[in-house]
């Protein structure tokens, strides 16, 4: 099955990439963009077929490698 992981910066962590994108959007004439945050989107192809087990496993991966708790949050979607 597939796991989708969204890694985002924690509130309070300055996001230079997001800021740069917002800047560029404004420069391109897109207004009405109040805030931009950029994160990571990781897709895993898993051999596991049990979604509960898969989720637990991916949770572990996020903790051990895929996210850095000092600056990032993550969320997981299994399908």
């Amino acid at each position: 099955m597939k796991a989708r992981i969204y890694v985002t910066l924690k509130n309070g962590v300055l996001d230079p990439q997001g800021k740069a994108i917002q800047h560029a959007l404004v420069a391109l004439g897109f207004d009405g963009v109040d805030d931009v945050r950029q994160g990571k989107f990781i897709e895993l192809e898993l051999r596991e077929t049990d979604s509960v087990k898969a989720k637990a496993n991916v949770e572990e991966m996020c903790k051990k490698l895929l996210s850095n708790p000092v600056i990032e949050n993550y969320s997981i979607h299994i399908e």
Binding site: L14, P16, Q17, A20, K64, L65, V70
Partner: protein
């Protein structure tokens, strides 16, 4: 002084570090490969600069989980001296040996430039050969050197004099323009509470001969030797 340099796939300042340590200590450091689970008994371990594992995912993230780093953490926990330069600093924050994280430079661009640093604390194993508040020039070259920590951690670092190097202007002021990469508090290098682990973004090992444009990096290594001899 016995030393060792830890090499990851795509470390690329390992040779520079070996040359510097050899020149200063008179003995060639041992090389530790990232897959080694036992490491030699040495006085100092250096984590060199580079792009370990391509800096993919996050700079230093994959390297921080390699078998050799487990052993390095034990070395540090025993009080062994440990330095991380550039990518090595990123690895050290990823292991948690040093607090905070190193994010993409505020300019979002790689920056290669001589950095002017102020030695904030010279009462350490890594800076005793410098004068307090001495301004030194050390080359910087990185994409992810923007030091981040939350207010609480920053407060602790400042209170305990763990901020060792700061980006400053030629008057020694930690201004925004002098801040190479957007680091919180202009931080260029920090030390752990116990004083045996140091991480910094600029490269002292690149400034050890006049022809390289300066020799301000020498005292960094000399400090470590002093601290072992005292």
């Amino acid at each position: 002084m016995k030393s060792a340099v830890l090499m990851f796939p795509a470390s690329n300042c390992d040779r520079d570090m070996v040359v510097a340590l050899t020149k200063i200590t008179g003995t060639k450091p041992e090389i530790i490969w990232h897959n080694d689970s036992t490491i030699p008994d040495v006085d100092l371990i250096a984590l060199p600069g580079g792009f370990s594992f391509g800096d993919y995912l996050r700079a230093g993230a994959m390297a921080a989980r390699s078998p050799a780093v487990k052993a390095v953490i034990e070395h540090a926990n025993r009080g062994g001296k440990l330095i991380g330069i550039c990518n090595g600093f990123q690895v050290l924050t990823e292991t948690g040996l040093l607090p905070g994280a190193l994010m993409r430079n505020a300019s979002l661009k790689f920056i290669c430039k001589d950095a002017l640093l102020k030695v904030e604390n010279n009462q350490t194993s890594f800076t005793n050969a410098y004068a307090k508040d001495q301004l030194i020039t050390v080359p910087a070259a990185h994409h992810d050197g923007n030091y981040f920590a939350d207010e609480k951690v920053l407060g602790q670092l400042e209170d305990n004099d763990q901020v060792i190097f700061r980006y400053v202007d030629d008057q020694g002021r930690a201004t925004d323009t002098a801040n190479l990469n957007g680091s919180r508090h202009n931080i260029a290098g920090i030390m752990n509470r116990q004083g045996n682990v140091l991480g910094m973004m600029p490269h002292p090992e690149r400034h050890i001969e006049d022809v390289q444009g300066g020799t301000d990096g020498l005292a960094f290594f000399e400090s470590i030797i002093n601290s072992l001899n005292s």
